[in-house]
Subunit: 334 residues, 2 copies
């Protein structure tokens, strides 16, 4: 490990991404990336009695699939790093209770997937682990029920709102392998832009994304053109435009090689998903499905993956609190 600049880290021994897996719901099946996911479910329940149980099952099966693809025996994993959006992160803890792998629960809201890869990379490069599981999930129905309104009410959603992705992504990180490799990271800070509208998460998180992105460029001395592609987690259409403007105001033009996973996963015009996808499962599935395959096929050789999270709950919104954001970034290179 070498600390570069103020708060970024170059890994001494780049960490290998040995395998990924992704399972998504029916809405994602109807989206433009459907052919990249390992499995698309026909409904939001998957044979379970509740949306929460369905989400746990999705996490469980996704992690099992990723472990299976990696060819590494479950007993040879040192740590599992995972989290989700449900209160007290129950999707992960119930979904992964049978793994028998030491478990480090994380909460970074929708930034959790990249947070898990960042922490796992530190454990592996620091010599504490050889093989790690990383995972995150979200579920449209369990999230709507918990954060907004019961779905049965059929509430209208404002155009700035985003559609929580039903799905889980999992990545297997190992000390040795042939890549793609995690080569550096810039951890996020909590940034509060004062936005209070829980139906405009993209705007609330854009400031945190800007903070991490600019620190990453300054710390590493890189420009946006260093990367073939830069992806954020779930800023959606509105947050994406704000981030492009914010970065531009700091002298960084990311317009040509930047996109957002929430923009990519749904068809805005045909799917009625307003500002785009969101949730821990958004960047988790788009990375594990689409971006990882693009890296394997050498369509991309250098990617900056930055997940964004909105740190709030329904009580804080009801109490008139603002919505602080956070963004964690990792570089992935062949």
């Amino acid at each position: 490990m070498k600390k570069v600049g103020n708060q970024s880290y170059m890994l001494e021994n780049p960490v290998n991404i040995a395998a990924t897996a992704s399972i998504v719901g029916p809405k994602e099946k109807g989206g433009p990336l459907h052919q990249f996911f390992d499995q698309c479910l026909e409904d939001e329940f998957w044979g379970e009695k509740s949306w929460e149980s369905a989400e746990s099952k999705i996490v469980k099966e996704t992690v099992n699939m990723a472990i299976s693809k990696s060819g590494i025996a479950a007993r040879d994993f040192d740590f599992c790093f995972a989290g989700d959006l449900l209160n007290q992160c129950i999707a992960s803890s119930f979904g992964l209770r049978e793994t028998n792998i030491p478990f480090i629960g994380l909460f970074g809201a929708c930034s959790t997937f990249v947070e898990s890869m960042l922490v796992a990379s530190s454990f592996i490069d620091g010599g504490f682990a050889t093989n790690c599981v990383c995972a995150a999930s979200s579920h449209f129905c369990s999230a709507e029920k918990q954060f907004r309104f019961p779905l049965e009410l059929g509430n209208q959603r404002p155009q700035s709102s985003q559609w929580t992705v039903t799905g889980s992504g999992s990545a297997i990180l190992t000390k040795d392998g042939t890549g793609p490799f995690i080569t550096s990271f810039t951890p996020g800070k909590i940034v509060d832009m004062g936005i209070k509208d829980a139906n405009n998460m993209g705007a609330a998180m854009a400031g945190a994304a800007e903070d991490t992105l600019i620190r990453h460029f300054k710390d590493t001395g890189r420009n946006p053109s260093y990367y073939d592609a830069i992806f954020t987690g779930d800023l959606g259409h509105i947050g994406k435009d704000i981030l492009i403007d914010l970065a531009s105001s700091k002298g960084y033009n990311i317009k040509s090689n930047y996109n957002d996973c929430g923009v990519l996963i749904f068809d805005k015009d045909k799917q009625d998903t307003h500002s785009g996808g969101s949730g821990c499962g958004c960047i988790a599935t788009v990375f594990s499905g689409y971006i990882y395959k693009m890296l394997q096929e050498k369509q991309y050789k250098k990617v900056l993956l930055m997940a964004t999270g909105a740190l709030m709950n329904s009580t804080s919104s009801q109490q008139g609190e603002s919505i602080p954001g956070i963004a964690h970034a990792i570089s992935i290179e062949l």
Copy 2:
């Protein structure tokens, strides 16, 4: 770092605990450890309009106090690791949004405080950090409201129930210093004993505590007598007795040098706290207040600190789910 046994880790460069701080509520002020806490509040609001805001303020002031005691400038911290019991961990994210320190949010339910020290130790020993902040919190009123019943209802509480500690503990971990030192750790696995009673958390968590404790002894080749004192986080009176029995059944007698922070923090007979204290703040304040001072005064030279968490939420209980547990252990030595 040296991995010992199957899943325990000896730190190559023991990590220094440079300072701790603790702030607790009025109930804890009335308990037997009151003189060890840095500050005892007169009421559960501390001038705020909601219990949630009060909890955030407690986290914020505790962390500021710990940083101040350490004498390290805030800008010289590499990471802050923190979490709490509120939905989406808002006590930590709102309380720490002004720190300007890279933030890694954790969720391990009541095991979060030791989880934060375990992860921070890995980052420091692995070369990723020099100075880290660790913190966790809970609040009796915000927890009751969220997990059980509105306090205004005045519901009766069964004898097996525990009393969530109002308070926050924070520890400053550094690469260099004169100790006490974190010397080894054993990360927890998710263990589900099938207990479904959310008013009997001690029983639900005891199995996870046993799993980690026995793995720690087997991995390190140590016996209970290696430690001057062994502390669990918040098993309470019932869970403590169960753990003593479970350990005994595996051939380890911990009766003479083991206690539980939830047992220590309240006076069972005079304070009507039934099975004892609980919550992330329980082990966080008892360690930061009492145990750390005992180490500084050389009353203890070798301590095993094991925090236990119950991985559930109110929805999972209503849906009839069991309550899986987890326990993370760290060794602290002079």
